[in-house]
């Protein structure tokens, strides 16, 4: 046996003959075929409920559940009065490794708050979905819990999401509750 490569099993006489192994292989795939066909027919007739004939998830109609803590598209949280919770402290654009967050700050009308964002743009096609902005935020104003994973557009400009759009997004679990 040569050193390095995976050790090769020497074939038995029957295996060298190939035909028996072919039949074994055909048996396995054929068994899959007939079992799945039976399950499919059973499901079509409504007899079989629990078993599935295929592992396929038919994507646009069926979806895999998104686990909690999954970093999906961002959203900005609001205060009780509807104004942005963000205080424009610039922590998130600072930590952002993709430099995709752009904030323009202004003095807040509320005397207890120093600043607020007039513009809060996240350039989604540059974002690497690392979630560092969420970690960095001192006031819990940004989260990545919308559950939106399909981000596509015909134009690069469409990937620039503005402040109001981010504030209108809702978390995934809230939407699921509303649907129930």
């Amino acid at each position: 046996m040569k050193e390095g490569g995976t050790p090769q099993k020497t074939l038995t006489f029957l295996e060298r003959f190939y035909l028996a192994e072919v039949l074994k292989g055909l048996w396995i795939t054929g068994a899959h075929f007939f079992r799945n066909l039976l399950v499919h027919t059973g499901r079509a007739l409504g007899v079989v409920k629990k078993r599935r004939g295929a592992v396929t998830i038919q994507y646009p109609e069926e979806r895999r559940p998104i686990p909690p803590g999954y970093r999906a598209r961002h959203r900005l949280l609001r205060r009780e009065d509807g104004s942005p919770k963000c205080v424009a402290c610039m922590m998130c654009p600072t930590i952002c490794p993709a430099r995709c967050i752009h904030i323009r700050a202004a003095e807040s009308p509320d005397p207890t708050i120093e600043k607020y964002p007039v513009e809060f743009n996240i350039v989604l096609d540059r974002c690497v979905m690392c979630g560092l902005c969420v970690e960095a935020c001192p006031v819990d104003a940004i989260r990545m819990d919308t559950g939106v994973v399909e981000m596509s557009a015909y134009d690069r400009e469409e990937f620039v999401t503005g402040r109001d759009f981010l504030m209108e997004s809702t978390p995934a679990d809230e939407r699921a509750e509303a649907e129930e």
Partner: protein
């Protein structure tokens, strides 16, 4: 009148083959999917009706017909166009000698249910499959593409190698049944072996069946013998084909599957014979008889033939979606060192048995 009958039969035969070929494209997708715990193509719909993906062949046809028909500038335009026709028509023509039922009597005429019954029937099939190699070689040559040419060479080498064992494997069968005509071979398989087994070719010549089936799969150039094509990586003889020319190559391959299935059914599985079914009705070995009307018997026999063809199409698909591709040296070793000696051995044994045991 005779001409009209033949024309009708030709029309029916082509309609049957084309329907089967188109359905096989669907079967291939669905069967492979079911074997692999998937669902398979099911997205093509007409007014929201999906019918398990049965519209996919239709979508394919539309796609292939509207695609650009590209001939590479370095290629031979005429031969490039000719090659798919050869591949396609030879596949269709081979079916001409396959009987799909016993002769029927209609308006005082005896009409054999096959397009032509030349006395050399089986040889005709081999001649035609021999010509079909030209389709492969011309396609590779006329493409003006080195990879296409290499694929064609692999294809020619493979088809010729396996044709040898294919031809030799049925010699034993021809010795047993004493005829080259598929119609009389089908007829002869209606008898009984030891008084209770149907005298099917596979029971008389099991070794020949194995060799023939292997060679037949190799003839259709599908996995595990798809070295001439190898679409995904080694690139085959029809790289430079697009649109409906490619579609014809592709359909021709499926027609070939049907033809091979029909040939196996005729030679080794009794053709249109149903076990214990005689022209008068069922005659079981125990002496039990069930008389049946003629029309029903004919229907059962044609259904039996179609069932056998469908089964062997299915089996070829199963093989295609189970086994990995051979390496080139393995392919040649199997052909020349495995199948050829086996088929020669089969001839020898058959000859000895016939000589000692009489017929």
């Amino acid at each position: 009148m005779n001409l009209l009958i033949v024309l009708i039969k030709i029309f029916l035969m082509i309609a049957f083959l084309m329907t089967m070929a188109v359905l096989l494209t669907w079967v291939e997708r669905k069967q492979s999917a079911v074997m692999q715990d998937r669902i398979g193509a099911n997205r093509a719909d007409i007014f929201g009706l999906r019918l398990l993906g049965l519209f996919h062949p239709l979508a394919d046809a539309v796609k292939l017909l509207t695609k650009e028909d590209f001939v590479p500038p370095s290629g031979e335009r005429f031969l490039h166009g000719l090659a798919p026709w050869i591949a396609f028509t030879t596949a269709l023509a081979a079916f001409a000698v396959i009987p799909f039922g016993p002769p029927i009597h209609l308006f005082g005429r005896e009409i054999p249910l096959q397009v032509a019954d030349p006395p050399i029937g089986i040889l005709f099939v081999f001649v035609i499959t021999g010509i079909s190699i030209y389709g492969v070689v011309l396609a590779g040559w006329a493409s003006g593409n080195r990879y296409g040419l290499l694929g064609a060479l692999r294809g020619a080498a493979q088809t010729i190698s396996y044709e040898v064992s294919m031809g030799l494997s049925i010699i034993g069968l021809l010795m047993v049944f004493g005829s080259l005509s598929p119609a009389s071979i089908s007829e002869a398989q209606g008898g009984l072996l030891f008084g209770f087994l149907p005298r099917w070719g596979v029971l008389v010549q099991p070794l020949a069946f194995l060799v023939f089936f292997t060679a037949a799969v190799a003839e259709t150039k599908r996995i595990p013998f798809d070295l001439p094509e190898g679409e995904s990586e080694i690139v085959g003889f029809f790289v430079e084909y697009s649109g409906m020319k490619f579609g014809m190559m592709w359909l021709g391959e499926f027609v070939e599957i049907v033809v091979m299935a029909a040939l196996i059914a005729v030679l080794f599985f009794g053709g249109w014979q149903v076990p214990y079914l005689t022209p008068a009705g069922f005659a079981f070995p125990g002496g039990m008889m069930i008389a049946l009307p003629r029309g029903l018997i004919l229907g059962m026999q044609i259904a039996a033939f179609l069932g056998k063809v469908v089964f062997f199409c299915w089996l070829q698909m199963l093989v295609r979606w189970t086994l990995p591709r051979f390496r080139y040296d393995q392919l040649m070793r199997l052909g020349w060192k495995g199948l050829l000696p086996l088929s020669l051995l089969n001839i020898l044994i058959t000859g000895l048995v016939l000589l000692i045991g009489g017929t």
